[in-house]
Amino acid sequence: MSTVPLTHILFVSTALFFTGMYGLFTRRNMITILMSVELILNSVNINFVAFNKYLYPQKMEGIFFTIFIITIAAAEAAVAIAIVINLYRTHKSIDVDDATEMKW
């Protein structure tokens, strides 16, 4: 069976990366923004796994890195959501454009 070449996978991951970034720039809802960040992180994960699998199969660094990223992402998300909730308490909204009190 023919294996998928690395470039394809990298293409996917990059696409994912920019998708996430687009979402981050455009979405107004904080939760959605958080999700788009997760997308970026996942693209990174794909990168790591792919590199590890295709280029350096003898070592497992990439895989481990992925695992750690996933964990950290979870922690980050937790704190982020906590903050968002608290922000909702104070601002009565989770639209990023409502939280622009401090500027200039």
Partner: protein, 469 residues
């Protein structure tokens, strides 16, 4: 083996121990804030002292964790800053509901920085970085009821998440092109190929975000303004300092093959940072926001030093961070005392401060002079050496522009001094009682600001450590 382990990681261990002690105290019967703070201050002091005894260099977990005298020193500078901050936050915390949580957050972030500083591996570095960021984000939101506080926290967590994501992407590419994450192995594999350059740029961006280099600095001002003063000072001094340490070592060791590239990069970034920091600082009314931009400008000057790329540069950077700890914390200390007493945060509120609070005024003035780099305060020496280090490459456009920017920065620092001493004000701030702890903190800061500069042994010591490795 275990003794090794304990000795090499003593500072990390100490911090962990403090966290646990706090947890146990919390679990036990509820105590008064004072008791918490006394305990923690004593512990921090011990921790600081611990940093001076039996320092060894060594490597753990096959190069994941490395330490040596210099790293210990760097960590200890952070410890010192932590101690000062905790002393200063007394007047703010003593009426606060969640004292232990505050300390736990900051301490765990400190722990993260320690790991980051001694990391010998990109994975470890990433872990440390995140560990140092996330708790601070929570800490920024520590005044739960305040709108600005939560807004700042939101901005911090999102932008840091984004930046670390980019950093990770860079790391992944680096991994892909080199096949290793170990600092010592990376240089052999790094060359000028575009992918690696792109990865490098992403990583630089990640660093730049943490030390708020333009154009990655935009979160800084808002977060500083929103966060409680103590957290702001933590952000501006400790996290910045830590990242700077790592930045310098990573730049000089890991990316030494790209020296030419990063030199020019730093050149551009530093000028941009100084200019933007200054231009924004001129206009600020809120004191914390003002200090935020001033700190951005300071980082720009630090980058000038970094661009030198010699042992002198490293020394000057560390030296400057040390000085910066003292001078900046002195300023923040005054702000925190004044804010917690009167709730006033604007520079215009400080008009005629000298009539009512001479002591505070002098502390603030000296801090400002030090930040502006006016002798005989230490700031002068710090800036001078940074610029001289930057001149080491013979790039005089950089030096000239930086030097001329000192004038702008002088303007806004003197603006504060002017407000304190000269501007007439019918209703100056009431005379503020300075709690003992803050007094201690001020004493330490001023002593540092006055002495560190003139006392060359400090500089020589740092230099000797650097030459050692």
């Amino acid at each position: 083996m275990w003794t090794d382990f304990l000795i090499l990681m003593k500072q990390e261990m100490a911090v962990v121990a403090m966290v646990f002690i706090l947890l146990f105290m919390k679990l036990g019967k509820d105590r008064s804030n004072e008791s918490y703070m006394n305990v923690i201050n004593v512990l921090l002091l011990l921790n600081l002292i611990l940093g001076f005894v039996c320092n060894r260099e060594g490597i753990l977990f096959n190069e994941m964790f490395r330490t040596n005298k210099l790293i210990v020193l760097e960590k200890n500078i952070l410890n010192l800053a932590m101690l000062i901050i905790s002393l200063q936050s007394w007047s703010w915390l003593k009426t606060h509901k969640h004292v232990p949580e505050f300390y736990i957050l900051l301490l765990s972030s400190l722990l993260g920085m320690f790991f980051m500083i001694s990391s010998g591996n990109l994975l470890m570095f990433y872990l440390g970085l995140e560990m140092s960021t996330i708790p601070v984000a929570a800490a920024v939101n520590f005044d739960l009821a305040k709108r600005r506080s939560s807004e700042g926290a939101m901005k911090l967590i999102f932008s840091s998440a984004f930046s670390s994501a980019c950093l990770l992407f860079g790391i992944s590419m680096l991994y892909g092109t080199t096949g290793t994450l170990v600092f010592t192995e990376l240089p052999q594999h790094i060359s000028n190929n575009p992918l690696q350059l792109f990865a490098f740029i992403l990583i630089i961006a990640g660093f730049a975000f943490k030390i708020s280099v333009a154009p990655f600095h935009l979160w800084t001002a808002d977060v500083y303004e929103g966060a409680p003063v103590s957290v702001t000072s933590f952000l501006s001094v400790i996290s910045k300092g830590a990242v700077l340490f790592v930045f310098v070592s990573v730049l000089y060791t890991v990316f030494s093959p790209l020296a030419k590239v990063w030199y020019n990069m730093i050149f551009i970034l530093s000028l941009l940072t100084i200019a933007i920091g200054n231009l924004f600082a001129i206009r600020q009314e809120n004191f914390k926001r003002f200090l935020a931009f001033s700190s951005i400008a300071q980082v720009g000057f630090i980058l000038v030093g970094v661009s030198g790329g010699t042992d002198i540069s490293t020394t000057s950077v560390i030296y400057f961070v040390l000085i910066y700890v003292f001078s900046n914390l002195a300023a923040f200390g005054v702000v925190s005392v004044v804010t917690s007493a009167t709730g006033k945060e604007n520079i215009s509120d400080y008009k005629g401060l000298y009539k009512t609070n001479p002591a505070l005024s002098w502390v603030l003035a000296i801090a400002m002079f030090s930040l502006a780099g006016v002798p005989p305060t230490a700031g002068f020496f710090g800036k001078f050496f940074l610029l001289i280090a930057g001149a080491g490459k013979g790039n005089y456009i950089l030096i000239s522009i930086a030097a001329l920017n000192i004038i702008i920065s002088l303007y806004y620092y003197l603006r504060v001094v002017k407000a304190i001493f000269m501007d007439a004000n019918s209703t100056p701030l009431p005379s503020v009682r300075i709690p003992l702890m803050s007094k201690l903190a001020f004493a330490v800061c001023i002593a540092g600001v006055i002495s560190i500069g003139v006392a060359s042994p400090v500089y020589d010591y740092i230099y000797s450590l650097i030459v050692l490795n």
